[in-house]
């Protein structure tokens, strides 16, 4: 039997786009959360953490409703970019970005809160604005958090199942990512393929996590 790697490629492509999008959105959002004194902060935090506790089916169902072309969001994407968001790869990216949102935000927010306030002030007192301070002082001093956020978001997106199944369906070569492919194999009683795919997933996940923990250990030693 020849191994079809398309589902894995799709999984990684999806995880890559999701991580990049969330990084761009997540950095300003997490910075805002870490520095705001607004009384709406708990509300924002609760909303951004919802995907952790909601059953994927609930999230998937709502996303299906909101992203379909009969909804304003779906219509907006159709009219602006000519993109259909349900049962397409683009739709999966949008859904994954929402589903993995807290996994990017929470480490970043911890990271921002962990950077000593006085080195940020030192940068302002050196005549530097907020953007320069962010890129040259704050982000370089929260590397472990940044890496954790990126890896966990990536890994979590690779590992998601319920939401992608509902929003993407299982269209081979388009939306059938690895986790869904395994489900399909099990359903068709093709245990051999399911075993191979599962083993690959397990190996990749373990390697990624091992790498994160090893890097964090090294960073801790460097800065302490």
């Amino acid at each position: 039997m020849s191994l079809d790697l398309t589902p894995f490629l799709l999984s990684f492509k999806l995880a890559f786009f999701t991580t990049v999008i969330l990084l761009v959105i997540g950095i300003p959002f997490a910075w805002f959360l870490s520095s705001t004194k607004s009384r709406f902060k708990p509300v924002l935090e609760a909303i951004s953490a919802l995907p952790i506790v909601l059953p994927p089916s609930v999230l998937g169902f709502y996303l299906l409703v909101f992203l379909s072309q009969s909804s304003p969001v779906g219509r907006f994407f159709m009219e602006m970019f000519g993109v259909k968001l349900v049962f397409t790869f683009e739709g999966l990216v949008v859904a994954s970005s929402i589903y993995s949102f807290p996994f990017m935000i929470q480490p970043l927010q911890n990271g921002f809160e962990n950077v000593p306030k006085n080195i940020i002030e030192s940068s302002y007192l050196s005549g530097k604005g907020k953007i320069e301070t962010l890129f040259k002082v704050i982000l370089p001093n929260m590397k472990t958090f940044l890496l954790t956020a990126v890896i966990i978001t990536f890994a979590h997106t690779v590992g998601e199942f319920g939401v992608v199944l509902m929003v993407g369906g299982s269209i081979p070569g388009k939306t059938e990512v690895a986790s869904v492919a395994i489900y399909d194999y099990v359903e068709t009683l093709d245990y051999e393929s399911a075993h191979i795919y599962s083993l690959i997933m397990l190996a990749i996940s373990f390697t990624v996590l091992l790498f994160v923990y090893m890097f964090n250990e090294k960073q801790k030693k460097r800065f302490l």
Binding site: E121, Y124, L125, S126, G127
Partner: protein, 284 residues
Amino acid sequence: MIKIDIQKKLHGSGGEMELICNFEIKQNDFLAISGPSGSGKTTLLRIIAGLEECKGEIVVENKVWQNKKIKLPPQKREVGFVFQDFALFPNMNVLENLLYVKKDKEFAHKLLKMAGLTELAKRYPNTLSGGQKQRVALCRALMRKPKILLMDEPFSALDPQMREKLQNDIAEFHNKFNLTTIMVSHSPSEIYRLANKMIVLNNGKIEKFSSPKELLLKTSGSAKFAFEGKIIDIVGVDVINIAIVSIANQIAEVVISKKEAKDLKIGDKVVVSSKAYNPLIRKI
């Protein structure tokens, strides 16, 4: 001329209080701010730097840093700030810490040379001692060629030898660059050595504003020597009572009367003073 006239409500450990400071200093002055903790010293420094909001006016050499209409952000105030705990950028080496402020390699090397740090230029902050870190922080604060150098208890995290070295550096920099310096400090010897003006802040108000010589040398009454200490024990030996007092790093025994023994208790803050005697001086 630097004119400061500010008010700010503070929520200190002792409840609400108002910080009200109104004073002027001249260019090239070295002002020390002293006073009990929680009296608003650090807040005053942060207000001058633009790190905290307040009401009032700050004018530095005819340039308004703050009044009713204007409030310059820290970036636009030409200040150098030395934090108590250094606040160096951990991701940059010593030279990069300085160059981050201003890309002037020549000046950076000159400052490092003056502070005796040339050999450490490529080292990262986490490999430096406290004294070295604070000297780097001082050099970094000067990279902007500030109108005012602000220092928040720069010596407090250092051991005595390091203090000595840093004091020399500060004195040298202050004179060489014609700086106007404002320093929060608890240590009378440091204030006496470095400052020409001194403010004693208490509960948010200026209690005294004069020269360190006048404020520090003049002790109450006609006492020649007076040290603040804390009673750590009171013992009765035969017919006399002895108070064991901790003064700075020393423990001293002081004979007290029966009545005094009754009035004093362990933990009391006291002044131990002496009038007429010949102090002995010996090199150590």
